[in-house]
């Protein structure tokens, strides 16, 4: 049993020995790619124009990144698309040669950039497990010995001789993950592989990582999923255009990440809309929809815990009596967290003539946890509210920012009261 500080952090003492030396140290790593201007360069061209150099420009994907990770630490690398986080991971994995800087590891490294690398659909699971494990660095003999444990963990013992092409995608993922955790590595480099499974699979993955951490194995995770980072990681590195933007507590990094995302999308919160996202008979049209903060200012980010409004502006093409205007709010996992409409409003909206416009403002308390949300504004005929005049699926998006660390969907204000009784004071255990 090792003594661990609450939250899984290990604090290093000044007098270090080999076991406490950092698991991974990255010192000023630089990675550049040459992007050819013209991809096609054949031998013939080269023979005809021996002096002409292939035009190319250089892209610095990772630019001077330094950090160190302690053994047993769960370290996240986050960043937007193209920020260089996957490239950094490939450098750490030894897949890319770096152009500058140094990296050191203390222990055996295993990389999971994709689950089931080298899986061959024509071969049965049994053989694929051995191939995959060997690819990940396990000697084939050890792989053969662990076959049963892998199949057991994946709950696929009965399908060991089935060819992979007959596997369902869920079975494939389970098999691949089972191989991955059976490869004894001290340091795991993981890139978004968890994004492929469903929620229960992801939970299983994180449970497994927690167990590995107790064995002082180190995990470095590249991801977009800030929720997972805040829940599971000890520290996080935020990359922006290849440069380290900040290293720190997951929560602080998460906030900065949201800021970066928001800055990019400032002003243009509306996304591309396809025909399939639009329903209704077209007698009315949702022109615009946006969020306003408590001061009535149009915003793309809402601070959590404040009052805000959703505003829908619509135009009628034909005469409509007592339409219903409303919206539904979905979080990033597409769960509807909130819906409101004028259905309950009295008096009713009344009759509209063709060409008339209406602006409906629905105010509510923003009790939602920090995340990205999508609003679907809609206008419907009087009645049940499901006969659409116009409904624009996930038409407007908004980022809720805040300091809350809850896993729950909503974050209501609450008070805690404590009453104690009894003469003798007992040592009370408080859950960390």
């Amino acid at each position: 049993m090792t003594l661990r500080a609450i939250g899984g952090r290990r604090y290093r003492t000044p007098g270090m020995n080999a076991a406490e030396a950092p698991a991974l140290v990255v010192d000023g790593v630089v990675k550049r790619f040459r992007i050819p201007g013209e991809r096609v360069m054949t031998l013939k061209e080269r023979a005809l124009h021996p002096l002409r150099k292939t035009p190319w420009h250089e892209l610095t994907a990772v630019d001077g990144v330094s950090f160190s990770v302690a053994p047993g630490e769960f370290f996240a690398v986050v960043g937007r698309n193209g920020s260089g986080k996957s490239t950094l991971l490939k450098c750490l994995a030894g897949i890319y040669a770096v152009d500058g800087g140094r990296m050191f590891v203390n222990g055996r490294v295993s990389t999971f950039i994709e689950l089931g690398v080298g899986f061959n659909m024509e071969l049965p699971a049994r053989e694929n497990v051995i191939i995959n494990a060997a690819m990940l660095g396990l000697p084939p003999r050890d792989a053969r010995r662990r076959l049963d444990r892998v199949l057991e963990f994946a709950e696929l013992e009965d399908f060991a001789d089935l060819r992979l092409k007959n596997y369902s995608s869920g079975m494939l993922v389970r098999l691949a993950f089972a191989v991955m955790i059976q490869v004894d590595a001290d340091i795991l480099l993981i890139d978004e592989v968890l994004a492929v499974g469903d929620a229960s699979f992801q939970q299983k993955c994180y449970d497994e990582f927690a167990r590995m951490r107790q064995e002082a194995r180190t995990v470095i995770l590249v991801t977009h999923d800030m929720g997972a980072v805040e829940r599971f990681c000890d520290r996080a590195l935020l990359l922006e255009q290849g440069r380290p933007e900040m290293i720190g507590q997951p929560h602080d990094v998460g906030l900065r990440y949201l800021d970066l995302n928001f800055a990019r999308e400032d002003g243009g919160a509306e996304r591309e809309e396809s025909e399939a996202d639009r329903f209704g008979d077209g007698r009315a049209e949702v022109l615009e929809a946006w969020f306003e903060d408590s001061d009535g200012k149009r915003v793309a980010a809402l601070p959590s815990g404040r009052r805000c409004s959703f505003v829908t502006r619509a135009r009628f093409h034909e005469a409509v009596d007592n339409p219903i205007v409303g919206f539904a709010l979905q979080n990033a996992e597409q769960q509807t967290v909130f819906a409101a409409s004028t259905l309950a409003a009295s008096p009713r909206l009344g009759s509209f003539r063709p060409g008339e416009r209406v602006t409906v403002r629905i105010a509510f308390d923003n009790v939602f946890r920090p995340d990205r949300y999508y609003a679907t504004p809609a206008i419907a005929h009087a009645g049940t509210g499901f006969a659409w005049l116009d409904r624009r699926e996930r038409f407007t998006e908004v980022v809720v920012t805040g300091t809350s660390r809850t896993d729950a969907i909503i974050d209501l204000p609450y008070e805690v009261a404590l009453e104690r009784s009894g003469a003798e004071r007992r040592q009370t255990e408080v859950a960390g």
Binding site: F33, L92, Y96, A97, I113
Partner: protein, 286 residues
């Protein structure tokens, strides 16, 4: 990151190096090569009714056609002793060279999923292609020897030369395979060019004709400088014997026989060095 961490990492850790051809761990290279080769070999005819038999059928069918043409229609090999066996041996060795090199050309590109996602010694890729072809050569050679014995040939002491000759042939294949696979990453024209070169090799080597048929000594020696031709000639001399001069004699009995050997060494060393130089960047240039 602080200085203590860096100092301690340098003391206890090992530096992460980028990908390379061999990767410092020879055992892993060999294990992976074997694994890739065995899988490939099994997959090739997996699910076909005749299975492994096809491994032997292909050269046999080619042999059947050539044998018919050159004994019945154009009597080329009429007075060559054991013409059938000599022809079959030529075909089998040529199929090995042709298969191992032409399949290695695209091997790195075809293995892109693993090359881009896993750190492993890159040399395992072309090496495994040659190994797969070598398995097949083993099967085919059994047929050659069975044919020879059936045709009345006798067991000879010089058969002991065979492993050495196969090793030389494999070395030649590995050199070409590493060069071609690394070249193909940059130049996609390598494939059609190599197909033409293989055609030239087929007709430029004494596969369906005997080297004695070429009376012009200069031309004969020139043809025999080709390492494949030299190995094939020596193979026939060792396996069949009578009527098939050794490579040494076919090259005029002088120091000239060193040239094919030097060419093999040159291709093997040059091919590997080119591959080794390119290996660190293959993943990003695919």
């Amino acid at each position: 990151m602080n200085a203590t961490d860096l100092a301690s990492a340098r003391q206890y850790g090992r530096p992460i190096r980028g990908p390379s051809a061999v990767g410092g761990d020879l055992r892993r290279l060999l294990q992976l090569t074997r694994l890739l080769a065995v899988t490939d070999f099994r997959l090739r005819f997996f699910g076909s009714v005749l299975g492994y038999l096809w491994q032997v059928m292909h050269p046999l069918l080619l042999f059947g056609v050539l044998y018919l043409v050159f004994t019945e229609i154009v009597p080329f090999g009429g007075d060559v002793p054991f013409y059938g066996v000599a022809l079959l041996a030529g075909i089998v060795l040529f199929v090995f060279i042709s298969e191992s090199t032409s399949q290695s050309v695209q091997s790195l590109v075809e293995r892109e999923p693993i090359v881009r996602k896993i750190q492993f010694p890159r040399f395992a890729v072309p090496l495994s292609v040659v190994l797969t072809a070598l398995f097949r050569l083993g099967l085919n050679l059994v047929v050659v020897f069975v044919f020879l014995l059936a045709a009345g040939g006798r067991v000879r002491l010089s058969w002991l030369e065979v492993p050495l000759l196969i090793a030389l042939l494999a070395l030649l294949a590995v050199g070409a395979a590493s060069l071609l696979s690394a070249l193909y990453v940059h130049f996609r024209d390598v494939k059609p060019i190599w197909d033409v070169i293989l055609q030239l090799l087929f007709y430029g080597s004494p596969i369906f004709y005997s080297i004695d048929l070429i009376t012009n000594e200069t031309v004969r020696e020139l043809l025999m400088l080709n390492p494949f031709a030299a190995i094939l000639q020596q193979f026939r001399h060792a396996v069949i014997g009578a009527g098939h001069p050794s490579a040494f004699d076919a090259l005029g009995g002088g120091a000239l026989f060193l040239v094919p050997l030097a060419l093999i060494a040159l291709l093997a060393v040059g091919g590997f060095r080119y591959f080794d130089r390119k290996a660190p960047r293959i993943a990003e240039e695919l």
